[in-house]
């Protein structure tokens, strides 16, 4: 069932659904035109409908995870860190009104239209201020994004595809944090039972075209190698209007592959994406080849999530492309202890 959306309420947590995430990725540049990518994502996994002893702060309802990654195009380096916690005595949590999610000191908080991101881990640091340049974009059918055949195999999914971003980041190897600016992408997704048993993972693209258009495409891959027919995309125009793209209207070719030394996963590593119905034909390449996150906490997940750049044409004109790609299920199955 499509949802009656109401913001800022729906930016907040939806504890009645089992899983939920707030996903920030962005492509940044410093004063010397050095390129960076960042990812800061927060997950909530419900483990119980109610904590067993609500009076005890440690009594668990949800587990919160956060992944933080920085890609340094100049040094060809990738750094990532993770945090896991129960809500506990003010250790982690997501408020129900507006974006306000924290995991052990890392946070995303919305104040009016502005979203502040904060995270630091050893030499990695990030303090960014994000301002939406386009309104909320709903994916699928008014924000109900099908993930497979049958009822319930869907999630609620919307984005800010174009967030003006300013702030500072600190990358290992730097002497001091640098001021950066660029464009971020925010996804919020929640649901209870999205993936089906026969699905192996997904490939997700979030691209900014320099003519102002934004493109989201995701492929759900089945274990037998086929692509789930519910896979789809969304095209956001310069003025913020968007339209749903069916699988049949998207043509993607993998141009090369990269093999991880850490997980032995073999990931696609360059793509040509064509949307004939929107006159888009672009090629994208990773900013850095090795942008794989190998997490070890309570939910060990290994996936590739990285900044990409590219170029091509949109409506007949040359465009530059920047964005993020997420590739899951290439190095073992998803899901850890939970």
């Amino acid at each position: 069932m499509p949802r009656q959306w109401s913001f800022p309420r729906d930016h907040g947590s939806h504890p009645q659904y089992r899983t939920e995430w707030w996903y920030f990725t962005g492509n940044l540049q410093d004063g010397r035109r050095n390129k960076y990518g960042y990812q800061l994502t927060f997950f909530r996994y419900g483990l119980a409908l109610q904590p067993r002893r609500p009076v005890n702060a440690w009594s668990i309802r949800d587990i919160y995870l956060a992944h933080f990654a920085l890609t340094d195009g100049t040094r060809n380096a990738f750094h990532h860190a993770e945090r896991v916690s129960r809500a506990g005595p003010d250790l982690a949590g997501a408020k129900e009104k507006g974006i306000n999610v924290r995991v052990l000191g890392w946070s995303a908080a919305m104040e009016g239209k502005r979203i502040d991101l904060m995270a630091s881990h050893r030499e990695m640091a990030l303090a960014l201020r994000l301002t939406p340049a386009k309104p909320v974009v709903f994916h699928g059918e008014r924000g109900l994004s099908k993930k497979g055949p049958g009822l319930g195999k869907a999630s609620f999914y919307y984005s800010f595809t174009d967030l003006k971003t300013e702030g500072t980041i600190g990358v290992p190897g730097m002497t001091a944090p640098v001021a950066v600016s660029g464009t971020s992408w925010f996804d919020q997704e929640f649901g209870s039972n999205q993936m089906t048993q026969d699905q192996a993972g997904w490939d997700w693209f979030a691209l900014h075209l320099s003519d102002g258009r934004d493109l989201m495409v995701y492929y759900l891959r089945k274990k037998d190698g086929a692509v789930e027919k519910e896979s789809s995309g969304t095209l956001v125009e310069r003025d913020g209007t968007s339209r749903h793209l069916r699988l049949s209207g998207i043509e993607t070719t993998v141009l090369s592959r990269w093999k991880s030394g850490k997980s032995a996963g073999r990931y696609p590593a360059a793509w040509r994406i064509r949307i004939p119905g929107a006159s888009i034909d672009v090629t994208v390449n990773p900013l850095v080849a090795g942008q794989e996150l190998v997490t070890t906490a309570a939910m060990p997940i290994t996936y590739w999530e990285g900044a990409v750049t590219g170029n091509g044409t949109s409506q007949g004109k040359e465009v530059a492309v920047e964005g993020y790609v997420e590739l899951t299920g290439y190095a073992g199955t998803l899901g850890g202890i939970f």
């Binding site: 119980a48 009594s59 005595p89 250790l91």
Partner: protein, 829 residues
Amino acid sequence: MKSVIRSFLRYIVRRRGLSALQLLGIAVGVTAAVGMMLASRSALKSIEGAVDFLRGGATHTLERPTGPLEEKVLAGLLTDPAVRTVAPVIDRQVRIEGGERIRLLGLDPFLDREIRSIADRIGESESGDVRRKIFTSFLFDPGAVLVDAGTAKRLGLSAGSIFKTSQGPLRVVYVFPNPTGEPLIVADIGHAQELFGMRGAIDRVDMVIIDDDPFRARWVRGFKIESNHQKAETLAALLGAFELNLQVLSLFALFVGVFLIYNTAMFAVVSRRRDAGILLAIGASRRQIAAAFLVEVLLLGAAGGALGGVLGFLLSGFLVKVVGNAISSLYFFLKPAALPWSFLNLAGGIFLGAAASLVGCLPSLLELGRVQPVRVLQGRTASRSAPTKTKNIALLGVLCLVVAGILFGLASRHVYVGFAGVFAFLIGASLFTGLAIVLSVPVLKPLFSVAMGLSGKIAVGNIRENLGRTSVAVAAFMIALSLSIGLGAMIDSFRQSVVWWMNSQLRGDLYISTKGDVNVPEDFYEELGAIQGIGGIDIFRNVPITFRGKPASITSIDASVLQRYDRFVWFEGGGENWEPVKRGSVIVSESFSRRFGVKKGDRISLEGADGPSDLAVTGVFYDYSTEHGVIMMDRSTYLKLFRDRTINSLGIFIDVTNPNRRQIIDEVKHRALVRGLPVATREEFHKRILDIFDGTFAVTRSMRVLAVIVAFFGIAGALMTLFVERRKEFGIYRALGFSTGDMVRMTIAESVAMGFISFATSTLVGTAFALILIKVINLQSFNWTVFYHFTPQPYLVTALTALAASLAAAAYPVWSVFRKYPAMQIREE
């Protein structure tokens, strides 16, 4: 050369019995030293291992100066720029069925994975769904715990087992490998809070901090922050006295062991004088003979040492358990594991045996250098210069005692100076044995003559005649007996002091929850307050603190109740001390006063929940509860300073004149029982304290047993050598008409007389040794006064030991007499 050595080695085989005894003598000496040293090393290694394992990757800990910490502090710490990782910890104990206490850690498996490996390994050995189930159960089920493999095995627990504890039943969800010997139970922190009734609170935070100083500056008020370095220092200070005790015992063991080996080696050489004389007479050079001696002694020493190394290793397995019990009752709930076998034990044993043997045979070798073959072959070996020699040696003894006295005077500089004094004293005392023999023989002669006739008289005379040999045997025996008496008298005096202290300070009729694992809910205290007829309730709280960088503790009590019912014995001041305590002053224990140089009238500064506080010290009291020192204050003062309302235990006082005494006691017992709080009567409480005391000194007692065994071998070896050496005299006795019975009596009399002289000397030396332990060593390392208290037991036990050892030592010679005496002739071999 070879033929000389061969002739010597043949002797070893020929005198199998004696050689075996000498070998055993060396082996026992080495066993004692190696066993004790290994045991103390194992114990300390185990502690270090457990501490390292539990500390994990943490660099700092943060806690309240006393009592638990509010859990909301964690969120603040997370935002501190110097903090890399925080992990909350609840660190308590539970008592399981059978009374054993085990450490229970409450951890958050998510936060803890950055610090320790325990949480990360939950369900490690299982896969997928099973592991998920285990982890989920650990997080969600109250009472779900992890138990370490060693404890699980010992208690027969496995995943799914339920076991009873003082905090209710716990269910094992997983058994985890624990590389250390510390029994551990791990629960999720939320469940641990519920188990110990401390919702909203934790005991401490383990952290990784990158910027020490700025961090401390931000968290200075009301917190105790300790770096690993400081923690290590605290631990070292905490274990200092204990470690020292083990070191001393190892040194004593070594001392006695070396003495015995020396003694044995010396006899080995002495018994060969005749052979040396013969060899010299037939043309062997002195160098050849000396070399042959060395080879023999070193072989004997090495073989005995090797045996001792192995036996010492076996002994350490037993001693480690004894030491472990002491550790558990004092510091940690640790089961120290014995160190694994290492060939170093063997090498060490061989070295020790050989080196001590070498030292032991040196004087005899020197003497051998001057041996006149003709004189030796004539038979008598007593030297005419004996009286002068005895006097000179005694003078050397006086010198040693003077040195000992000087060292005792300087003992306050370092406790090792005191030990050096002890050894100087023991060596000095042993040098008087020759004189002791010379002086006691005239007294013993008529005694033995009356008791045993001519045989007895001759026997005593023989001791005097063979002074060079007998004095060393008596010295070794005497030192061993002195150690037995000294250690025994020290323990008894200490025990009496503790009893005296308990009777003056722990005079409650009932004690509730004194076992340290269950706290008393505050409303229970109020509930008891409502019972008619209770004279007073002392509300007790004890917390370890760090004072001026050293461990100490704070005890909060109800000053009015103690003033009325207890009879504190004051080191400084008197009963008037209680009035200012009620108004906010503190009193300190003797050990605190000595450790920190704090006296009545001084002021001390304590770090409270709101920062430092200045407190007046109005008295110093005797206390044996902890050597680290106690600051005692009224509960009102404590609450104001630390806002910690925890109650560890209660002392219930009922007026003796109260006619309903019995009923009131029963009523309190009943109510405590309903709450699941353990109750002890005064007698039971006192007994428990004494049990702990006895456990602590179990190692020392084991050392006494060792001393006695060493003593036995000392005297037995000496007697046998004397016997072997004087075989020819036996021929003369036979020619003079002495019967086998006479010879047996003579042998026994000789042995008993030597035992008697040793014992008589050891009563003096042992008592002096006990006094030194009490007044110098104990005062130095524990900072408390122990009052010498005479109990006959150590003396009686030692006397019986001496008698038994002397008789047993005579057994082989007596047997030889029966076997060989009738056939003996005066002839040259």
